[in-house]
């Protein structure tokens, strides 16, 4: 019997793509999201296509007080947890809309980190499991264009790095995924360069392969590693005057 995969953020295109990738390999799937009953068509699709058990679970990433009970209540306890929770926000608008900016930061860091924390402890006790966090290249360096989202993702990246360090000795593996641009509902209508833009299914396959190979940090399209290395190498004195 293959490990059950929990998808946190089961409504997102990346989350669903991961669900399909793992279900196709015979893993039972738990989809967790807000208003999860509306995911019934997606549940049926996954179950019928791949002949696996798929269940729905209500979760609010920002209601951090509920996370412990949520994790304890899952039956069976998932062997692989993939967190695809996040919100892009609108940088320009959110610079003025303080409340919304805070919400974007909470949705990209606080909620995901809190959920990872409870599953990390659960897996540490069992001495096995894999945690996958979908972070972002935007977290590699803060830019004027998206630093509210990016800074929270930077926090999440650092959190995952720390978890990996802590759990490495306890049989629990942590994967950090930096997808780069992905053609999802979150980026719909944006004019993204095709060579740098992955399809959600590519992310799903990349996550599946990273879990199997126990990779630590992956960029979905390898070109992104190069792009971000260059961006991070630009001296701050120059970088602050650039608009990229």
């Amino acid at each position: 019997m293959k490990e059950t995969v929990l998808i946190l953020g089961g409504r997102s295109d990346i989350g669903l793509a991961c669900a399909h990738a793992f279900a196709a390999e015979g893993h039972p799937v738990q989809l967790a999201a807000r208003n999860v009953e509306t995911l019934e068509p997606a549940r049926a699709d996954l179950a019928l296509r791949h002949s696996v058990e798929v269940s729905l679970h209500e979760i609010d990433a920002l209601a951090t007080g509920t996370h412990g009970a949520f994790a304890a209540g899952l039956e069976p306890a998932p062997g692989i947890v993939i967190c695809a929770i996040g919100a892009l926000g609108n940088q320009t608008a959110d610079e003025e809309d303080h409340a919304h900016a805070v919400e974007v930061m909470r949705a990209n860091f606080e909620g995901p980190a809190s959920l990872m924390a409870v599953f990390a402890n659960q897996m540490a006790v069992r001495g096995e499991g894999v945690l996958v966090g979908i972070s972002s290249v935007a977290g590699d360096r803060g830019r004027a264009a998206n630093y509210i989202y990016g800074s929270a993702k930077a926090g999440f990246t650092a959190y995952l790095s720390g978890l990996r360090n802590r759990l490495a000795k306890q049989g629990v593996h942590v994967v950090t995924v930096k997808p780069g641009f992905v053609a999802t509902s979150m980026t719909e209508g944006m004019d993204l360069p095709p060579k740098l833009t992955a399809r959600p299914e590519e992310v799903g396959q990349a996550v599946l392969s990273a879990v199997r190979k126990r990779r630590n940090v992956i960029y979905v399209r390898p070109i992104w590693r190069v792009v971000m290395t260059v961006i991070c190498a630009i001296p701050e004195a120059v970088f602050k005057k650039m608009s990229i």
């Binding site: 196709a24 068509p41 049926a44 699709d45 019928l48 296509r49 791949h50």
Partner: protein, 441 residues
């Protein structure tokens, strides 16, 4: 969003307003703007799924809704790929009753084209296995059409190239199979007569002939007829019998760049065709081939349409009715051989009786060939058009990118009825494609 679109042939190319709806409401909003055309996976060769003002990329509406493993009935959204239907349900012992030569097509596309396969003579088109469709009309209402309710819409939609509305969902039946293997038999045929003799006498489920377009005189129509039947579990060798639906994964190759136009001259073509022949004769006789290699040999070569280079290519596919098939095919093949523009792929199939009011197939032989697009080949295809019309032949709209409205009318007496139906149902202004505008449909 504005996007440069083309069909599989990469000709013609047009700037289109593309939206990718995730739900009915988004489709309705686009239909209200009109005119629109639904697009599946872009495997129609020409401009059938392109509308400058509104092209609906339906691939995000691709969920399975229900599956009955006892009766082999599937219900799904129109954007689901046929290949995904196979991966999901072949392990349960079910395979599409009708499949075109690629699995990278959507179910909506299969219905709009009313696709046929190598078993048309025995099993008809996709429409024969259709239980119902949900289709959005010009007012944005969703209509359930089946054999008893809205039966006119149900009859007209297969083959209508999306011009009767946006197909949203469908229920259809699959064929029971005992394995994922095909018992294949290769029969070399020295010429057209010999090939037709094989088609007329075979009792195989599937039959198709691959052509060497450059053969002249006695060798005209020199071909390799490939016959196939679904292998039963018991007949499989023991290594395959153990897991009859498990077939080896194929390695995918990709055509990385556009080939330069000169890459396809008559010498490279001749070399390719000879090689294909040699390979075929070597394997003559019976063998077991997995379903993917048998039905979809070209799917393993991703983006193979790039081998024709940037100008793109056109496919010429017609059906010539049985009584004039021999004469018509001979004229067509003679004309092609004389031009030296013979194509990479040339395929001959025997079709059975006509199945619907605007569906392509009719009793006879269908010939399909690719040509790189240039002035000479476009002129050659116009010559072939005239030969087709002279022999009572008909054109497959799914492959068409360059036919004229006059030729279509001359070839297909059903066009006026189709136009009248569209006008009567108020569909003409709401649903239109580059192709329907070019052909005056």
């Amino acid at each position: 969003m504005k996007k440069k679109l083309s069909g599989w042939g990469r000709y013609p190319v047009a700037e289109c307003e593309v939206t990718a709806p995730r739900d009915e409401a988004a489709v309705r909003a686009a239909v209200a703007q009109g005119p629109v055309i639904a697009r599946g996976n872009g495997r129609a060769y020409g401009d059938a799924a392109m509308q400058a003002q509104g092209t609906l990329d339906m691939r995000r509406m691709n969920k399975v809704i229900a599956f009955d493993p006892v009766a082999g009935r599937v219900e799904c959204e129109a954007g689901m790929l046929l290949g995904d239907v196979i991966s999901a349900f072949l392990p349960h012992g079910w395979f599409p009753a009708v499949t075109p030569g690629t699995k990278l097509v959507t179910i909506g596309g299969c219905i709009a084209s009313d696709v046929h396969g190598k078993n048309h003579r025995n099993d008809g088109t996709f429409a024969r296995y259709l239980d119902w469709i949900d289709i959005m009309d010009a007012d944005g209402d969703v209509v359930r059409a089946d054999a008893s309710s809205n039966s006119d819409l149900f009859r007209w939609t297969p083959g209508a190239m999306g011009l009767t509305g946006v197909i949203l969902r469908a229920g259809f039946r699959l064929r029971p199979v005992e394995s994922g293997w095909i018992r294949q038999e290769m029969v070399p045929a020295a010429n057209l007569d010999a090939a037709m003799e094989v088609f007329e006498t075979t009792d195989a489920t599937y039959s198709v002939a691959w052509f060497d377009c450059l053969g002249r005189g006695d060798a005209l129509g020199r071909s390799l007829v490939v016959l196939g039947d679904h292998a039963t579990r018991d007949e499989l060798p023991s290594d395959k019998r153990y897991r009859p639906f498990h077939v080896p994964a194929r390695r995918r190759k990709k055509v990385p760049v556009d080939a330069p136009a000169f890459a396809l001259n008559r010498y490279t073509l001749r070399a390719f065709n000879l090689l294909y022949h040699w390979n075929g004769s070597r394997q003559a006789g019976s063998s077991y081939v997995d379903w993917d290699s048998y039905f979809y040999p070209l799917d393993a070569l991703l983006d193979w349409n790039r081998i024709y280079g940037r100008p793109g290519f056109a496919q010429f596919q017609v059906v010539i009715p049985l009584d004039s098939a021999k004469a018509g095919l001979t004229r067509l093949l003679d004309t092609i051989a004389a031009s030296g523009q013979g194509s990479f792929l040339a395929v001959l199939k025997r079709l059975g009786a006509e199945g619907g009011p605007f569906s392509f197939p009719m009793e006879g032989y269908t010939l399909a060939l690719d040509f790189p697009v240039n002035d000479r080949t476009l002129a050659l295809m116009r010559e072939l058009d005239a030969i087709t019309v002279d022999h009572g032949g008909r054109f497959y709209l799914t492959k068409d990118s360059r036919l004229s409205a006059e030729t279509l009318r001359a070839a297909d007496g059903r066009v006026p009825d189709f136009i009248a139906m569209r006008a009567e149902q108020g569909l003409a202004g709401a649903f239109a494609s580059g192709q329907s505008e070019r052909l005056g449909l």
